[in-house]
Symmetry: C2
Subunit: 192 residues, 2 copies
DNA sequence: ATGTCAAACTAACAATTGTTAGTTTTGTAG
DNA sequence: CTACAAAACTAACAATTGTTAGTTTGACAT
């Protein structure tokens, strides 16, 4: 699920993101993080600059993963809009399986970013705009029902952004089926 | 959108929930709440017992609204499962339009409940179980596609729980259409 | 053995936290 | 005008916060 940390700093970030997921950034203290690692709070500062830096590292890392993934999808040729949507769903499932805690932190604590806040918001706006364009093209080409793209965008994105809440509970076998089932529900609906 | 506060305590709760929505429970101080009301932090304690009480009031209030709404839906006779799902969607849209800040607080800060935490979790488990039963009955009767009820539950509930993020931006006219569009997308999908 | 360097430690800081105690202001009913 | 209750205030508290400075430890190459 999560990679082996390569540096001591990465260990700190990985410990922090687990705690952030449970209680949120503001409710987690540097002493909490240190205790979870079996060291003292002051020792953390041999490896990081500030608590804020931990948060930035977590969120910007994931934000840029989504940006890169979306760029690839936008660049795809000779595919339908539905196929692009399937790729978006796959992108979310993959990233969330790899980094459930980071996803939780990005979703819940982005507003506590300081210097990096505007950059994060820019990434998010661009991502949503690409998503919206894919939906509009699909409607134009008749591949997607002519319903408000905004409502579709909201509905799919809400589900994908909540994946971190459900994925950690499932075993690997279920995760494999998840992508297919989720695509079916989100794209074709639940009525026969 | 929000009711006129009847008591000074309700004013405090309403001020608090707006701030909780923006920054989360842990990041909002009693001095923040007081300042937003133009008074001093100590004055709040003429009306409330603790910061924790504010959070409890907000979350339990909403939690019980959902419990009551779901009880009515479960008790409905001579209706299809799809009609019950439409009523669930309507329930979420209505409550969220009336209390967007409370919804945000319930979704994001329930884990900071103390004495009332177990009661809240019980309400939530019961709600989800009723939802699950409606889905299973729908599948049995052939009114709902035979896809994993768990995935359907997750998908619809994720969207409904995120409504607070989108609803405050829309004007009243859009809100009226929202219910219909949302039902269409969630139930019949987006493919023609 | 010695020197080096990363990574831990102790001790402390200034600021901020939720909350209490006791006092003063304010508006309204008699 | 007076009395009373509601609701504000000032001042302070003990605990906790992120962070810094300076020191010690431990592993390893020389």
């Amino acid at each position: 699920m999560t990679q082996k940390p390569a540096t001591r700093k990465e260990e700190i970030v990985q410990t922090a993101e687990m705690l952030f997921k449970k209680k949120g950034y503001s409710a987690v203290t540097m002493r909490d993080i240190a205790q979870a690692m079996g060291i003292k709070a002051a020792s953390l500062y041999n490896h990081i600059q500030s608590k804020q830096e931990i948060l930035s590292d977590i969120i910007i890392n994931i934000g840029e993963q989504f940006t890169e993934g979306m760029a690839e999808i936008v660049a795809m040729e000779n595919v339908t809009s539905i196929q692009k949507l399937e790729r978006i769903i796959k992108l979310h499932v993959q990233i969330t399986i790899e980094n459930p805690s980071r996803m939780a932190t990005m979703n819940n604590d982005w507003m506590h970013l300081e210097e990096k806040l505007e950059y994060y918001l820019q990434l998010r706006r661009n991502y949503e705009e690409s998503f919206r364009q894919i939906l509009k093209q699909g409607i134009e080409k008749g591949e997607i029902k002519n319903v408000s793209p905004e409502v579709i965008l909201f509905s799919i994105l809400s589900t994908l952004r909540s994946l971190y809440l459900w994925i950690p509970k499932k075993e690997e076998s279920i995760k494999e089926n998840l992508l297919g089932k989720l695509s079916q529900v989100l794209l074709t609906g639940i009525t026969p």
